[in-house]
Amino acid sequence: MKFKFIEEKIAKSVMIAFALLVVGFVVNIIYTILRRGLPALNWDMISKIPAGGYYNGGGGGILNAIVGSLYIVLGSAFLGLLFSIPIVFYLNIFLKKDSKFAYIARLAFDVLFGIPSIVYGAFAFTIMIYLGMHTSLGGGILVITLLIIPIFIRSMDEVAIQLPKDLLDATYALGATKLETIKVVLRQIAPGIATATLLSVGRAIGDAAGVMFTAGFTDSIPTSLSQPAATLPLSVFFQLSSPNAAVQDRAYSAALILIFIVLVISITGRLITNHFSKNKI
């Protein structure tokens, strides 16, 4: 057999091995969570807030954290889209390809992308102290928004940068102003927006460090933006730190709920984008 065929066989086996390794990790994580979390999962977990002594094995559930996490994710995803779509649009439509400002802005977003969430949390925390604010749902939403805006922008930008020039020219030729091309641009980059949203939501719902200082933790469900809010990752953390094995198992069921929420959001996101991007050229 010629060497190049042997080479191909070896390369293929290495690729398969690596792919299996990664899939193995995921399966292992899910298996562990299911094995320990599923027995502890019951209706009380998702329908009740923690009763007294919950973290020592008392009754109740983690509804406070589920609701808190959903508030923060939905709020920050909404704010993130609100801020990042105009930025991406400006970078790609209004600025020329060789613009210095666009270059600096993209560099800045890359740097922001890499900053760990604990730094965002600490940064927001000092500002909150300065302003005399308490830990609150609003603070949590703001810090998570800051955290995910670079993710939104960079992943949408990668798609927007490849907008066909012919498509923009065709739109201009109909007498569109730059702003009026947004209807065409948004339709064309819809899959990018969806991917960006899913990545951001994943990061937002899983973030513990950013919300620790800013949203705080509480056993009740927040009813306004100025009240502190619990989040699922922190709930997992507090339950795991308990010496009580039964409470530790509950931490795994909380993680299971977290994964389930991410899954539901991902699938809905994909369905919505497929609907909007069917016309993509």
Binding site: G175, A176, R187
Partner: protein
Amino acid sequence: MDTFQQGNAAQKKGTLGSLFFNNFLFNRSSLKHSRRQQSKSVYKIRNANLSVNNLNVFIHKNHILKNVNIEIPDKKITCIIGPSGCGKSTLLKTINRLIDDTEGVKYDGSILVDGTDIFDKKTEITEIRKKMGLLSQRPCPLPMSIYDNIAFGCKMHGEHKKKKLNEIVEEQLKAVGLWEEVKNRLNSPASKLSIGQQQRLCLARGLAVAPEFILADEATSALDPISSKHIEELFVEMKQDYAIIMVTHTLRQALRIADHVVFMYLGEVIEAGPADEVFNNPKQELTQKYLEGAFS
């Protein structure tokens, strides 16, 4: 087979349209009343007028267009011919100022469209572009349904009545001979059409905003022979209502349909004039050589 039949049908419609139009032209001074009625129809009294004066275009210090002076006659097909890289497409893109987005571009001179200098700072470029339907080399439908592709421009210019939009969509799709092929799937994505159908859709989309000029940048070069024949037939038919400016690198196509020819070489206009004059009796040696196929 289908395509040919539709082509014929479209031609018949064209003849009717032209009768209507000529008739109207002859009588237009007679009755004020009829003029007011007619001006509401598609065939408005208008005088599309485009002249390029002393135009120079530089891109990053490269002198792309050198002192270009041409007049585009109304209701005729003007073909811009010349070897690759001679500035044909740049000229076309300068006429509707799509060249503005090119990095490092500078221009001087003037282009008068119906008396308005398009380089004037006060000129609203969107209004100028609205007067010019663009057909690019590869069809580029908008990422929307077939219906919305045509309605998009109208909506943008303030037409939101559903009934009126339906009329425009049907009228323009019929004008390009696409109506019978797509009337049952107006809501399916435009990208699902064949490439020839897409090009006709793009033409209809441009026509929907009621332009005076049609700019075609090698509009048939990506199409199969039948589709390009179809587009050529449409151009011949439409020249009664529009001034058509066409960049082409196929000399034979220019021979077939041009009424007026502009021959360019290395950024300069070498010769311009009526087609039979330029083709049969070229004044310049370069034009003659090009026509003989000495270079391309």
